[in-house]
């Protein structure tokens, strides 16, 4: 029995979508389970039958986060770190990417090369000398040290993302604006930036994620619970003899939600960033 080409093709599409759906569900399991567990009372978490539906859900773990684990200040610290990372790296990186794209000077190619290789630096290697330097500057236990560290690792990436965007802005537009008497910086801010908005949004999104999700710098630099961001606050729930699983799951959700919401809202830019070379 032979099957026609079109039937076979339709069968193929159906099989592909079934496979993909199953895989998508599987990929959602870890975070779904985290959310599910975070609403369970302790008795339903510490059981050998975790699949059983609990009789009641509770917000207890979420309220504990704020009463016992400083999640209020931590949330604020995370936001400060993330926003400062955005401002610093998009500000500095935007200018630099435009400079490299439009005003190359002798040696700028080498400078750009160094900046790009800086992308490959092992963060854990950088944090060792930085810790000693921050200590002598008295910048341990402050968000400043974390912001500086995250930004310097993120900046090369921002330049890498933005340079091609500035290169696609038609040169004629800038030349015309210069003829109009605008100085290069005015051309950049008034003419080029609006045109490169998709690139800027991409850089903003990735910079925010870099600041929001970073663990290495805060866990190394900050020991004072009041100054910790959410990421290193999570580590506090795992002590030598006890793991606060309920709070850990709830805290993971609190940390995840803003990042996921932002990624969905700016999904276009997220995908663009992936394609222009994450």
């Amino acid at each position: 029995m032979t099957i026609s080409y079109h039937t076979r093709k339709r069968l193929g599409v159906t099989a592909a979508s079934v496979t993909l759906t199953v895989l998508a569900v599987l990929m959602l399991v870890p975070m779904a389970w985290m959310a599910f567990t975070s609403f369970k009372p302790d008795a339903d978490i510490f059981t050998t039958t975790p699949l059983k539906m609990p009789e009641a859900f509770t917000l207890e773990h979420y309220s504990n986060l704020f009463s016992q684990f400083h999640f209020g200040p931590s949330f604020l610290n995370s936001a400060i770190i993330a926003i400062a990372t955005v401002v610093l790296s998009v500000g500095l990186g935007g200018l630099a990417a435009y400079g490299f794209a439009r005003y190359p000077w002798r040696g700028s190619g080498i400078a750009l090369g160094f900046l790009l290789v800086a992308r490959m630096v092992t963060p854990a290697a950088l944090v060792v000398p930085m810790y000693v330097i921050m200590q002598s500057l008295g910048l341990l236990n402050s968000v400043t040290g974390v912001i500086v560290g995250v930004t310097v690792l993120n900046l090369p990436f921002v330049i890498w993302i933005l340079k091609p965007f500035f290169e696609t802005v038609p040169k004629e537009v800038e030349e015309a604006a210069e003829l109009d008497g605008l100085r290069p910086f005015a051309v950049f801010f008034k003419v080029v930036l609006p045109l490169a908005k998709p690139g800027i949004m991409t850089a903003v999104l990735y910079s925010f994620l870099a600041g929001w999700t970073d663990l290495l710098f805060p866990m190394t630099f900050i020991t004072d619970a009041e100054v910790m961001p959410l990421t290193s606050s999570l580590l506090q729930m795992q002590t030598g003899y006890k793991i606060y699983w309920g709070e850990l799951m709830a805290g993971g959700i609190v940390l995840t939600l803003p990042a996921v919401v932002l990624c969905f809202a700016l999904q276009r830019y997220l995908l663009r960033g992936l394609r222009t070379g994450y």
């Binding site: 592909a16 060792v128 000693v132 310097v152 003419v191």
Partner: protein, 327 residues
Amino acid sequence: MTSSTLVRRGEGTSPSPRRDRPRASRQRITQPHESSRRRRRTGLAFTIPSLAFVGLVMAYPIVYLVYLSFHTYRPLSSPDVTPAGLSNFIDLFTDSTVGNSLAVTLQFTIASVLIEVIAGTLCAVLLATVMLGTQGRAAKIYSRVLGSAYIIPFAVPAIAGAYAWRMLLDAQFGPVNAVLGTTIPWLVEFPLLSIVVIDAWKMMPFVIFVMLAAVMSIEPTQYEAAALDGAGALRQLFAITLPSILPIMVITAAFRAVDAFTKVFDTVFATTGGGPGDDTRVLPLLIWRTAFTHLDFGAASAQALMALAISVVFGAALLVSQRRNVR
């Protein structure tokens, strides 16, 4: 708002005869020689802030790292930094944890990149099949929902994902064991495999979307011609799809490899913690532990320099080769 400003600028900037600007000024812009010094200064003005920042916050610490690597600095026993000659570097070769850590990091990198690139590319091909093979609004929405589902692991902060997986794989309370009817401590019995799976979960979306763009850019007429010649789906995959996306696959794998080698930290720290024993003590974790658990900054600095040298050499080679590919 943006488009209106643009239009306004566009109008005002056309070189209309009404504007009585001297001709020379326009020529200065079009002739690079005359204004090259000014352009150079402008270029420096744009790039100096970034270069200064990176120089101060990255280059200076790396210089300091080199200094530390030739010294002994153990703040727990003495606050003094004393010269140590080459002993920290000799330790790199004599201390078996360093060699072990390198091997573990390499195994992790190769395994996770292979899984991510192969499975991710397959997913991308399937996703493209669905997107191209269906019509209508419902199908479009469906493929968008699928895409969004795949994005989630990538958007999840690594530390949150790591703890989610740790709960999932828990020997006593985890659902994976409950489903299987076992009590296997996965993170203890299969530590390396576990972190590879977690990393693949987190980073596969990246590969999927990069490869999806590559697959979607293949001329559809190629497939039509192949179908007319009687080539089946598998034949089309191997004769058309894979050859055309292979270069992008290689570049993606290389970038992922550098990334995996240099940045694997959060996941391992929060799940296996490098254990059991030294089974998953990847290089970044070894450096961090040496510095901040054992408080031996000299030894940590030598390890860090080694890690930097490896990643920078590979990274630079990658950038150079990619540049050659593009041009």
